[in-house]
């Protein structure tokens, strides 16, 4: 029963998205804007997660949706729009990751609406504020995660991000990256292996 309702809701959303896509393909700019708004938050979050820089995430956003705008007429509904969109997103993000170099240090401080934010501070739990030891342990743990992330190749990082943060199935990730499900599995294995070893004896 629950599954039926979920499937019906999913089908309704797909139909809505399809009509927006068709209208945007006919040159309807309002439809295009609605389409962008339906997907852009997750695209921006994905870019922020991967690149950890608001400026670069902003560039990725612009590049991705201009490509969508220019190439939407080539979308033939032979895969889901999400898959088609994420092919563009992952290509643009991989380009950025490769340009900056796989092992480049990422800034620990990011800008937010409330001012610069140290991401290491951000991971501390509320209850940990009164506990300096736990605080330090959290910091160390987070630094190790950062190290592990930096050690990943752009492709490993992409698979990890898409699986962990976006919740996509590995089959879908393979489809997006133009590779097989097995290759995506191997990437995920290597990524988690590297990160688990970066955690060392902390956990």
């Amino acid at each position: 029963m629950v599954q039926d309702v979920a499937e019906a809701a999913g089908a309704r959303l797909t139909t809505q998205a399809d009509s927006l896509i068709r209208a945007a393909q006919r040159g309807d700019q309002d439809a295009f804007e609605q389409l962008v708004r339906a997907y852009d938050q997750s695209v921006l979050r994905h870019a922020m997660n991967l690149l950890r820089s608001p400026e670069e995430a902003r560039d990725v956003y612009q590049e991705v949706f201009l490509k969508v705008f220019r190439n939407l007429h080539t979308f033939r509904f032979d895969c889901s729009f999400h898959t088609w969109l994420y092919r563009i997103v992952t290509n643009v993000c991989l380009d950025h990751l490769r340009k900056r170099g796989v092992r480049k240090e990422e800034p620990a401080v990011v800008e937010t609406g409330e001012g610069p934010l140290d991401r290491l501070e951000n991971v501390e739990e509320t209850s940990a504020h009164a506990d300096p030891e736990r605080n330090m342990w959290n910091r160390q743990l987070h630094e190790r995660i950062e190290e592990g992330m930096r050690d990943l190749t752009p492709r490993e990082r992409m698979v990890f991000e898409l699986r962990h943060y976006e919740g996509l199935r590995l089959r879908n990730i393979g489809e997006i990256l133009g590779t097989t499900e097995d290759a995506a599995k191997n990437c995920l294995f290597r990524a988690t292996q590297k990160m688990r070893s970066a955690l060392g004896d902390l956990v």
């Binding site: 700019q29 295009f32 804007e33 962008v36 708004r37 852009d40 938050q41 921006l44 979050r45 922020m48 997660n49 950890r52 608001p54 995430a57 902003r58 956003y61 612009q62 949706f65 201009l66 705008f69 220019r70 190439n71 007429h73 990011v110 800008e111 937010t112 609406g113 409330e114 001012g115 610069p116 934010l117 991401r119 951000n122 991971v123 743990l141 987070h142 995660i145 950062e146 992330m149 990890f160 699986r163 962990h164 943060y165 199935r169 590995l170 599995k185 995920l188 294995f189 990524a191 988690t192 990160m195 688990r196 955690l199 956990v203």
Partner: protein, 310 residues
């Protein structure tokens, strides 16, 4: 399952990518193997830590991105691979603005005239580079004519007077004077798509005074934010020059587009001087975009300046 295969499948198990049978095998092994169970704990800890590592979207960034995107699309940046293309539009516009001929276009009339085998080149001045045979025998939609008069002549033939507008294609390197002149002219065309493309090309050659002036003019006066953004990019190498800074400071205080103000703050603070402090303090008095405020505030703090004027 062996320890080796369990370790290999651990991330797949964690992310729910195993079949039910594989999951059963995995759980059975983890129940009896302390070492693998310990590794599984590490995998779970990694998952928790990765969750906390999730980046937040800074306030205002999504709205700024949407504004930039729509400005770029309305400015013609999105049209580069659609329809006739910006370069083609540009050539069209240049051809029209240089010819001074009639803008009336009647391709159907032109085709009809050419189809009956008229003369053509004998009564018109042929543009350089266009072959006579092509003009007479291979009409294309790039020739537009308006017939002004038709008169029989004494020898039994006919004399036709018509205006012709012809699209011309020019190409050359950016350091070619003519190309540059055409681009400078195109940067003032009515069509924003043409202006965006032209300013985009000019911005990489901001070293000469005419291009520099065109970029300054565009950043200060162009009604289209896409064009202004391109011009700001082009002024980056010149951001230390006093008169460029003066224009940029005016833009910062008057441009209604937050994306442009963001870019201008970046340019101005790259080369700090005393004047910029006052400009940023003025901006802080009136700025209503959080992201721009944040950037200006950060720059002022780095310069050890107060956030406001007293």
């Amino acid at each position: 399952m062996t320890c080796e295969s369990v370790l290999k499948s651990m991330p797949l198990y964690f992310y729910g990518e195993l079949t039910p049978a594989e999951e059963d095998g995995m759980e059975e092994h983890l129940h009896r193997c302390r070492s693998c169970a310990r590794e599984m704990e590490r995998q779970r800890a990694l998952g928790v830590m990765a969750d906390r590592h999730r980046a937040e979207i800074p306030a205002g960034l999504l709205e700024d991105c949407r504004t930039d995107l729509m400005a770029a699309i309305q400015g013609g940046a999105g049209a580069a691979e659609r329809g006739p293309g910006a370069w083609r539009l540009f050539l069209n516009a240049v051809s029209e603005s240089l010819s001074g001929w009639s803008r009336f276009r009647q391709p159907a009339g032109a085709l009809a005239l050419l189809a009956v085998g008229f003369f053509a080149a004998r009564v018109t001045t042929r543009p350089a580079g266009v072959a006579e045979a092509k003009l007479a025998l291979a009409p294309s939609d790039q020739v537009f004519s308006t017939v002004r008069s038709v008169q029989p002549n004494p020898s039994g033939g006919v004399q036709i007077s018509f205006d012709e507008t012809r699209r011309r294609v020019v190409s050359g390197p950016m350091d070619d004077q003519n190309i540059r002149r055409l681009l400078l002219s195109a940067a003032r065309e009515d069509n924003p798509a043409v202006r965006v493309e032209s300013v985009d090309l000019l911005k990489n050659h901001s070293g000469t005074s005419d291009i520099r002036d065109a970029l300054l003019n565009a950043v200060a006066h162009d009604p289209n934010p896409g064009v202004r953004l391109k011009a700001v990019e082009g002024l980056k190498p010149l951001a230390a020059e006093p008169d460029v800074r003066k224009v940029l400071a005016q833009v910062l205080l008057s441009d209604d587009n937050p994306a442009i103000r963001m870019q201008v703050v970046d340019l101005l603070v790259e080369h700090r001087d005393d004047a910029i402090v006052g400009v940023l303090q003025d901006l802080m008095q009136k700025e209503n975009n959080n992201y721009v405020r944040l950037k200006s505030e950060k720059a002022l703090k780095e310069m050890n300046a107060s956030l406001g004027t007293f």
